[in-house]
Amino acid sequence: MDPEAAKLIGAGLAAIGAGLASLGVGNVFAKFLEGALRNPGAADQEQGRLFIGFAAAELLGLLSFVIAIILIFVA
């Protein structure tokens, strides 16, 4: 296969990772909302933890974006 084409295919495959990370981020907020509606009194104290989970889930999607950028512009 032409290396240039392989790079672009790899960058496209990295988009799957970004999409899966969006599932993860959605899951974090969905579960938080579910819990918060059941017990609204405890919701405010847990917002820090919500964003920790959000940051951890989001990071993996951002990393796959970095891989795509590296494949297209650097490698």
């Binding site: 940051a55 951002l62 990393l63």
Partner: protein
């Protein structure tokens, strides 16, 4: 892409073959500092009955104070100035990068969309964690890599994993902010390209593609403003968690 290019505005001096010049990156960092300085100066009047501006500034300081106190505990308040400066600088730099001053010919440069800038911020945070940890606990700080209650037969496995997750922290801090800002700006650029190119291709295409892209772009711009705030918050939150690790040696919340 043009908006991410660092350009020299006027030449400075040379150190060891490296040119140290005044770039647009430096310029927009100074703009962010000036905006932040103006914002803070307006709110530091210390009147007993705060006005609107002082209220605004005090809600920011109170927010960071609360975050540091819940994550580190009462002794964490001495780290509040650092976390506050970090949060406000990232927030203002992100927002200045989104500012629509392009309509009067000034093209803003998002400082935080460069790995060098976010990398330095992450290195400062990481060094503070190391300094505080070693100054407070000496070499007992290394027990951070052996959490309480680790079974003996897992001692060969857990410390390397903990060490890896500790060393990867500055990279994840820096990469998260840099990629979130870069990706957002590229997305806006691509949508803007849809509008311009479809309109150039004819009125029909302009109506069919340009108008929906423009509507989407309005939404994405609002989302980017949210992301600017959330990323600043996440950076400050993770920094305070890492400082908590250094102060308290594992109240176990290890997130990469």
């Amino acid at each position: 892409m043009h908006q991410f290019e660092v350009q020299t505005i006027f030449d400075g001096f040379r150190i060891g073959g490296h040119e140290i010049g005044f770039t647009n990156s430096a310029l927009w960092m100074i703009v962010a500092m000036l905006c932040l300085g103006l914002f803070m100066l307006g709110g530091m009047r210390r009147s007993l009955i705060p006005g609107r501006w002082q209220m605004m500034v005090e809600s920011f300081t109170g927010f960071i104070d609360g975050m540091v106190t819940t994550n580190i505990g009462p002794e964490g308040r001495k780290y509040a100035p650092y976390v506050f400066s970090l949060f406000m600088f990232i927030l203002v730099a992100n927002l200045v990068g989104m500012a629509p001053v392009g309509v009067i010919g000034l093209h803003p440069f998002t400082v935080t969309s460069h790995l060098t800038v976010t990398g330095i911020l992450a290195i400062i945070s990481f060094s503070i964690v190391l300094l505080v940890g070693f100054a407070k606990h000496g070499f007992k700080f290394l027990t951070l890599f052996v959490p309480d209650g680790t079974p003996v037969w897992l001692l060969w496995l857990i410390p390397p994993i903990e060490f890896f997750s500790f060393m990867v922290r500055p990279f994840s801090l820096a990469l998260r902010l840099f990629v979130a800002m870069t990706a957002g700006h590229i997305l806006l650029k691509v949508l803007a390209g849809f509008i311009i190119n479809s309109t150039n291709a004819g009125v029909g295409y302009g109506l069919l593609v340009g108008i929906p892209s423009f509507t989407l772009m309005l939404g994405i711009t609002a989302l980017e403003l949210l992301v600017a705030g959330v990323q600043a918050y996440v950076f400050a939150l993770l920094t305070s968690l890492y400082i908590n690790d250094a102060v308290h040696l594992h109240s176990h919340e290890t997130i990469g």
